[in-house]
């Protein structure tokens, strides 16, 4: 095989691997969390791929729409799902990703905002009080968590001298120039992205996603009116959002590790996927051990996350690394 063929083969295998991950990692993430929680409660729990089976089953069912809805509801589902697919392609949450355009960190954050706005509009469309209160809480969480997520990514961007996340998370150039030699920043940002993703995904300790009505106040309340294929799309988009955020966080941890131990791309890829799994397990453990915070205490929890990101950003800005 010559060089061109090898290149083609490699990019093809990247596409295949990436497509497989987009389909299987999100439901697996949810499955791992559920399984962990079940095991900690001395239950056997559903199979790991149960979320995928649920989604497939929902796809075979019909939809029930409210008579007060306009077209906004169905459009919003489609837009949210499509945005998540595009985000999965653009965001470097996996280290074996095919070619993608400039993944500017501000663009990524505002694409997440695009998905959020459409989720909110879908929730408000039926005029149901559940949807509206879920939406109202979601915008509150969005306000609290967006600075943390953005600052965490900005810290990495400043540290690596570019706002393009492809360059930030690229492995080889960083290792050769020794920029990744500060595991502290990677760790801090990894933890801050992980904690902000818990808020962003409305999981414990901010919201309990497994119950209905009283305890579940944010995302599940927003999607209460969805059913059938609509619900399948929403559930999958939510799981995809989860794996993108967990993946970013896992990437940060792998970078922190790579700063200390030299490792091959294959090991990094395996560690990347294993990291997402480990994060899912730890989220499961966290959800079994902790209780939901009182709604009014949530800003305090988020304040820790924001200050962690700010610390990382200040350290990155203070380290005086100039452009690559």
């Amino acid at each position: 095989m010559n060089g061109a063929e090898l290149h083609l083969l490699r990019s093809c295998s990247h596409w295949v691997l990436f497509a497989l991950s987009v389909v299987f990692v999100p439901p697996l993430c949810l499955g791992i969390i559920r399984k962990t929680k079940a095991r900690l409660q001395n239950r056997i729990g559903p199979p790991l791929f149960q979320p995928l089976f649920d989604i497939l089953k929902l796809c075979r069912k019909g939809e029930t729409l409210s008579s007060t809805m306009s077209g906004t509801f169905r459009i919003s589902t489609v837009v949210v799902f499509a945005t998540m697919l595009v985000l999965a392609w653009m965001t470097p949450w996996l280290c074996f990703k095919p070619w993608s355009p400039n993944a500017d960190l501000f663009l990524i954050v505002y694409l997440f905002a695009l998905a959020r706005v459409f989720t909110l509009l879908g929730a408000l469309d039926s005029g149901s009080a559940f949807g509206a209160f879920g939406a109202s809480r979601e915008v509150t969480l969005g306000l609290l968590v967006e600075p943390a997520l953005l600052l965490g990514l900005v810290a990495l961007g400043i540290f690596c001298g570019s706002s393009d996340l492809r360059l930030v998370f690229a492995y080889s150039p960083l290792q050769s120039t020794g920029v990744s030699g500060a595991p502290g920043i990677w760790l801090l940002v990894g933890v801050s992205i992980l904690l902000s993703s818990l808020v962003e995904l409305s999981r414990m300790p901010v919201d309990d996603p497994t119950t209905h009505l009283e305890l579940t106040m944010v995302h599940e309340a927003m999607v209460l009116e969805a059913s059938g294929r609509n619900l399948a799309l929403i559930e999958f988009a939510h799981a995809l959002r989860m794996s993108i955020l967990f993946g970013l966080s896992a990437q940060c941890f792998v970078h922190a590790a790579a700063a200390v131990w030299r490792m091959s791309p294959l090991t990094q890829g395996i560690l990347n996927i294993a990291g997402i799994g480990l994060i899912a397990i730890s989220v499961g453990v966290l959800e079994s051990l902790s209780v939901k915070l009182q709604w009014r205490k949530v800003p305090e929890f988020v304040a820790y996350v924001v200050s962690m990101s700010l610390l990382a950003a200040l350290v990155a800005a203070g380290s005086g690394v100039t452009k690559l």
Binding site: G62, E63, T64, L65, S66, S67, T68, S70, T72, R74, T77, V78, V79, A82, L85, V86, P101, N102, F106, L107, Y110, L111, A113, L114, V117, L120, L121, A123, L124, D125, G127, S128, A129, F130, A132, F133, A135, S136, R137, V139, L143, E146, P147, L150, L151, V154, S163, D164, G228, R229, N230, A232, L233, W295, L310, A313, L314, A317, G318, K323
Partner: protein
Amino acid sequence: MRNYAIALLDDRIEAGLHGNLLMKSAEIILGTVVLLTLAAVAAFVLSHQKKLSNRLMSFLLCALAASSLAALLGTGFQQFTYVTPAPFLLGVFPMSFRLDGLSRLFVGLLSLILFSAGLFSTGYLKHLEGRISSGLYWTTFLLFSLSMFGVVLSGDAITFIVMWEIMSLSSAALVGSDHSHHLVQKSALIYLSATRIASGLLCGGFLWMHSLCGSWSFVDWNFGTAQAIFPALLILIGFCIKAGIWPFHIWLPYAYPAAPATVSAVMSGFMSKISIYGLIRILVQGGLYAPEIINLAFFLGAISAFWGVLFALVQNDLKRLLAYSSIENIGLILLALAIALKARAANLPIVADIAMTAAVFHCLNHGLVKSLLFLCAGAVDSQAHTRDLHKLGGLAKKMPWTMACFFLGSFSMCSIPPLNGFASKWLIYQSLFQSAMLNVSYIERGIALATICLLSAVGALAIATFVKAMGVGFLGTSRSTMAEHAQEASAGMRASQSLLVVMCAGLGVFASSAVKFISQLSLLSRDSAASTAVDFPLSIPLLTGLLVVTCLIVYLLFLESSKVRIFKTWDCGFGALSTKTQASSDSFAQPLARIFRPFLRYETNSTIKGRDRRHFPEEITVEVKIVSILESRIYLPSLAVISLGAKGLAKLQAGSIHLYLIYVCSTLVILLLVGTAL
């Protein structure tokens, strides 16, 4: 020989056909100004023929705006200066006009906004019939339009201030055009006094600069010297008042909602940007370096952005919400301007170019989007006869076109890609990011990071604000019979909204060309060779295409063929939902308002009454109270002090001629004494 002269500053233009064409185009733009004056006179003459004058004037406005837009495309990149000949002197001074890159951009924006306002007028004015006088409205509106052209084209301080005054007074008259309401009268008065203070400060600054530089022409003014700090401060504050920057913004949430929608669209879309234009033309291009002034502008911009959006969130009047959101965006623009000045002073040309392009691009974007949103709000107002979010809702099925336009405008205000709001917000972020990376001083880096944090919070609040406006205003079920009987707006109104939507989407998708174009206009200094093109590396067209295609595929694959059953909204089995069980504008904003209650002085009082009030309440009332600290703690007390002082002074005017003679005599004596002492 022609009786006027177009002096071409740029020698590179060869004479001949090309040169003639350029001159013609410049003439057309200036001619637009003259024709607008004539049209204003015609409107005054025609004031009794309501229907005819409405149609004719809307048509004239559109035609003139279109001709100036067309002429603009023909003028290329050269600079022109035009000085009025002998009979058209202002007293002893000739009026001079100047057309260069910066003014060209603003003329373009103004023409676009006026064009859509003209299109919108015919349908919209029916709704105001009997409430406003058509002749007065059109006369002042056309004067307002021509004065805005005049301000943007003026080449010296005298012309500028004359046009500025016509603009301020005519817009004040327009704000008061629906003057049968008490609130409108009050708003017009507040606005008028704000413009007086602004004009006073500007006049002071201009006079001071004239005495320093010995010229009225903006080209000769140099703000790089140490003595120029105070006039620069006067000019900055004057423009800030007119733009509605915190803490001078209090006139704005009164004036915009009170004015007819076309007027508030032009005022918010363009008039507030004129202050930014003035700041760029006078202070930025005048070489302002004083760190005190720059830091002040930075601080005011950042506070305005936050303050504006925070108060926008808790508003219940659709137009008032948009007015507060204008404060936010003008704050962002001023912030970007200050970043550019800071970077220029710190010798970071890359950051300065990005921030300057961001400021001007955001002017353009916000101008288009905000006029679009005000026009949509006007359409809602004219159809549902209310702007109160507590009475709206359910318009999605009644006014789908207006809703789509309002939604797209709102997405742009939330800076959601791929619309234009995102492109300029990205440039602001990028300038801060680069500044956090490249700045020598660690403190400056920290400030840049903190500003990024603030901007993202402002962005999230903007999302909350506009989701509230969209969701409560248009979705769900109607909260009043007025909203229930609303119908789609007329074709002209829809056309003008759609035009602006297309402009917004176009500027967003092709942002990289727009950014390149704007960055080459040499905004930071007067010599044209100084600027470099700013890079906009995001592939927005690809992203847009991808999003659209993915949406279509997902829709066709999943939802197109799915079986749909229409049923009622989930009601927990309690039976039919009433419209009051929907979230209201207040309840939607409550969690966020609670977090910021120290700023908003947010209070809720709820009473639940009834015999068995726990299970079967008979009467539930909730009252939300928000007080603006600035207004209640600072402005009203200082106004009270002023009126107390005025009452004291009024005692001097006793109406007795003997007393006045004593005043005259004693003044003379004092002046003579002072004169001899000096």
